[in-house]
C-alpha cells in the first residue's frame, strides 16, 4: 500500500508543469552533451549548477538528474555513428555499435540502445522505490562513527576502482580532503588557509573547483590534442526499430545489463562506466559465440547501454537515503542540495518527501521523454555532431565564466576556476584522476564533523570505530580494499580495456 501512495506522490510532484518543463530541459541538455564529445555530464551539471539556484530545489534536482541519465542515452549516438564515445560510459558501445553502423545497421543499433536504456531505466526506478525506504530506515540507526566509516569506505572504493594508479588516486583523495578544510572552521570559528581573503572565508566554492577541473581542463585538453577529423558514418537512418530477431537476441542481455548496472551503480565508487564494461564482459563470457563480440553483435550494444542507464539511476540510492554520493556526479548533486538547504540522508524522505519522490517520479517520466526524443531526433544530433570544435569551445568557456561569476558576482572565483582548470589539465596529462579529489572535497566537511563528533563521544578513543558492528564492518572492508593490491595472488580488478 505504501508503495502505491509513494508512487502517487512521485507522479503528483513530477507532473506539475514546472517540473515537467525542467525534466524535459534536463534530458534534452543531457542528450545534447552526451552527443557532443568533450563535454560530459559532470562538466555540464557543474556549468548549469548556478542557474538552478533561481528555481525550487525539487525542480533543480529533477533537471540536474535529467542531465545525468540523459547523457547516458545521448552518449550512445556518437559511439555508434562516429566511433567516438560522447561520454566515458559509452566507450564499450563503440565496439559493436560502430561495426553495426558500418554494416548498414546503425538504425537497429540506435534503436536497441534507446529501448534498452528505457527498459533499464524503468526497472531501476521500480527497484529504487522498493529498496530506498527500508535502506533509509536502516540508516536512521547510523551515528557519527558509522557515517565516518561509510564515507571512508566510499572514498576507498573510488580509489580502488581508479583506472590508473591507486597511490595517485589516494593522493588526490588526500588533496581533496585538504581543499575541503579551507575556510572558516565551523566548530572553532578559526580561519584556515584563507590569508584574509573574503572569498576563501566561506571555503573554496564547489562550482569554481568542479568547473575548473572538469570544464576548463576538458577544453584545454581538447585544444592540446587536436581532434582527428570526425568520420560520421553516412547511412540511412530510416529503420530505427529493431526487428523481431533483434529483440529475441537482445531482451536477456538488456535484463542482465539492467541488473548488473543497477547494483554496480549503488556501490559507492562504482558507476556507469564500470557497469557498462562489466555488463559487456558478462555477455561475452556467457555467449555461445564470444568471438563475434566486436564485430557488430546487437547484444554487445544492448547490454552495456542498459547497464550504464541502470547504474546512473541506481547511484541515486546512496545519495538520497544515506547522504553519501556514490560517484562524482552524485557528489555534485549533493553539493547542489546542500546549497539549496536540503540535507540528503535517511530523514530526506520524511522531511522533504516532495524532493525524494519527485525526483524518482521524474526519472520515469524522463525515461519516456528520452525515448521520444532519441528516436526521431537522431538526425538532429548527427547535425550537431558536425559543429566544428573551434566554434564550440569559446561558447563552452563563456558558459563556464558566466556560471562561475553568477554564483556570487565575484571575479576572484573566476580566477580560482581558471587555476583549477590548469591544475585539472596537468592532472589529466600526468594521469592523476579528478574524481577522488572531488568526492573527497565534497565529503571533507562531513567527514571532519563525523570524526570530531565520534572522538568527542568516545572521549578521544579511536576504539569507537572498532566496537560498533556497522562501523567496524565498513572499516574492515575499506582496509581490505586498501591492502588487497599488496596480497600475493589477489590482483586489482581488471581495467576496462582488459575486460574487453
Amino acid at each position: 500500500m505504501e508503495f502505491f501512495s509513494n508512487l502517487l506522490l512521485a507522479f503528483a510532484v513530477a507532473f506539475t508543469p514546472d517540473n515537467l518543463f525542467f525534466c524535459f530541459l534536463g534530458v534534452l541538455i543531457g542528450t545534447l552533451v552526451g552527443v557532443l564529445p568533450g563535454l560530459g555530464p559532470v562538466a555540464t551539471i557543474s556549468l548549469l549548477l548556478p542557474s538552478t539556484f533561481q528555481i525550487t530545489p525539487v525542480s533543480a534536482l529533477i533537471m540536474l538528474a535529467g542531465i545525468f541519465y540523459g547523457a547516458m542515452y545521448g552518449g550512445s549516438t556518437t559511439s555508434i555513428l562516429v566511433n567516438i564515445p560522447g561520454e566515458a560510459a559509452s566507450v564499450v558501445t563503440c565496439l559493436d555499435g560502430y561495426q553495426m553502423a558500418r554494416q548498414g545497421r546503425a538504425g537497429p543499433a540506435l534503436g536497441i540502445s534507446a529501448f534498452g536504456s528505457f527498459i533499464a531505466g524503468t526497472l531501476s526506478v521500480i527497484a529504487i522505490m522498493l529498496i530506498a525506504p527500508p535502506l533509509a530506515n536502516m540508516a536512521l540507526k547510523f551515528g557519527p562513527p558509522e557515517y565516518f566509516t561509510l564515507m571512508f569506505l566510499g572514498l576507498t572504493v573510488l580509489t580502488y576502482l581508479a583506472s590508473g594508479s591507486m597511490i595517485k588516486a589516494l593522493m588526490m583523495a588526500s588533496l581533496g580532503i585538504f581543499l575541503g578544510t579551507i575556510g572558516t572552521d565551523t566548530i572553532s570559528g578559526l580561519e584556515r588557509f584563507t590569508y584574509h581573503s573574503y572569498t576563501l572565508m566561506d571555503g573554496l566554492g564547489l562550482v569554481p573547483v568542479i568547473m575548473g577541473l572538469f570544464g576548463i581542463s576538458e577544453v584545454l585538453l581538447n585544444i592540446d590534442v587536436q581532434a582527428a577529423k570526425r568520420d560520421i558514418y553516412e547511412t540511412k537512418l530510416s529503420n530505427l526499430f529493431p526487428n523481431r530477431d533483434d529483440w529475441r537476441i537482445s531482451i536477456f542481455p538488456i535484463l542482465r545489463g539492467s541488473l548488473i548496472g543497477f547494483f554496480l551503480g549503488i556501490l559507492p565508487g562504482g558507476g556507469a562506466v564500470i557497469a557498462s564494461f562489466g555488463a559487456y564482459a558478462v555477455e561475452k563470457r556467457i555467449s555461445r559465440h564470444p568471438e563475434k563480440f566486436g564485430t557488430g553483435t546487437i547484444e554487445g550494444v544492448a547490454s552495456p547501454e542498459s547497464a550504464n542507464n541502470a547504474a546512473s539511476q541506481g547511484a541515486f540510492i546512496p545519495l538520497l537515503t544515506l547522504g553519501i554520493p556514490a560517484n562524482v556526479v552524485m557528489a555534485i548533486l549533493l553539493g547542489a542540495l546542500l546549497i539549496h538547504g536540503i540535507k540528503p540522508g535517511p530523514l530526506l524522505m520524511k522531511q522533504n518527501p516532495d524532493v525524494f519522490w519527485g525526483v524518482i517520479g521524474s526519472m520515469y517520466i524522463g525515461n519516456v521523454m528520452l525515448l521520444i526524443l532519441n528516436l526521431p531526433l537522431i538526425g538532429l544530433w548527427v547535425k550537431i555532431l558536425k559543429i566544428p570544435y573551434p566554434i564550440l569551445f569559446p561558447l563552452i568557456l563563456l558558459f563556464c565564466l558566466i556560471g562561475c561569476y553568477s554564483l556570487n558576482n565575484n571575479v576572484v572565483e573566476i580566477m580560482i576556476m581558471i587555476l583549477f582548470g590548469i591544475v585539472g589539465f596537468l592532472m589529466k596529462k600526468f594521469e592523476y584522476e579528478g574524481a577522488p579529489l572531488i568526492l573527497a572535497f565534497v565529503l571533507s566537511p562531513l567527514m571532519e564533523n563525523a570524526l570530531r563528533q565520534s572522538l568527542i563521544m568516545s572521549h578521544g578513543s579511536f576504539s569507537i570505530f572498532f566496537t560498533r558492528p556497522i562501523a567496524v564492518t565498513f572499516f574492515l572492508v575499506a582496509l581490505f580494499l586498501l591492502i588487497s593490491p599488496q596480497i600475493p595472488g589477489f590482483k586489482k580488478r581488471p581495467k576496462g580495456g582488459d575486460i574487453v
Partner: protein, 151 residues
Amino acid sequence: MKKYDQITSLVWLAFAVYVLIESSCLPLGSWRDPGAGFLPLGSGLCLGILSMVNYLQARFRKEDDVRGSWHSPDRWKSLLVILAVLFGYSLFLDFLGFLVSTFIFLFLLFRLVEPQKWAVAVGGSFLASIVSYMVFEIWLKTQLPRGIFGF
C-alpha cells in the same frame, strides 16, 4: 611517464610540506576534542607519505612506456592564448561590463586559436554575447556587471 611521475611526486611532496607547516600553526586540539588544524595536518601527512611512495615506485620501476613530450609543441601557443584571454576576461569584466568584455573575449578566441573568417568571428561573437545576455540577465535574472558603459 616514469620521469614525469618522479617530478610530479616531488611537486606534491613540496605542497604537502607547505600544508604541514601551515596547519601546525593552527590549534591541533587533543584526541578528545580535535582542533581546527587536525584534519589539514592529517591530510597533509597522507599526501606527503603517498607522494614519497609514488616517487619511490616510479624511481625503481624497470619498465617504462616510451612517450613523447607531455604536451603538443604546435598546440602549446593556443593553450597560452586561451589562458591569457580567460585571465584577461576575469580582470576586465567588472570594468568593461558583460556585453563588451564577452564580445571581445569571443572574438579573440574565434580569431586567435583556430582563425575563423572575419564574418564568423564578428557575427558569432555578437550573437553569442546578445543571446547569453538575454538568457542570463533578462530571463534568469542573473546580475551581470554593467561596467563603464552601463551595459
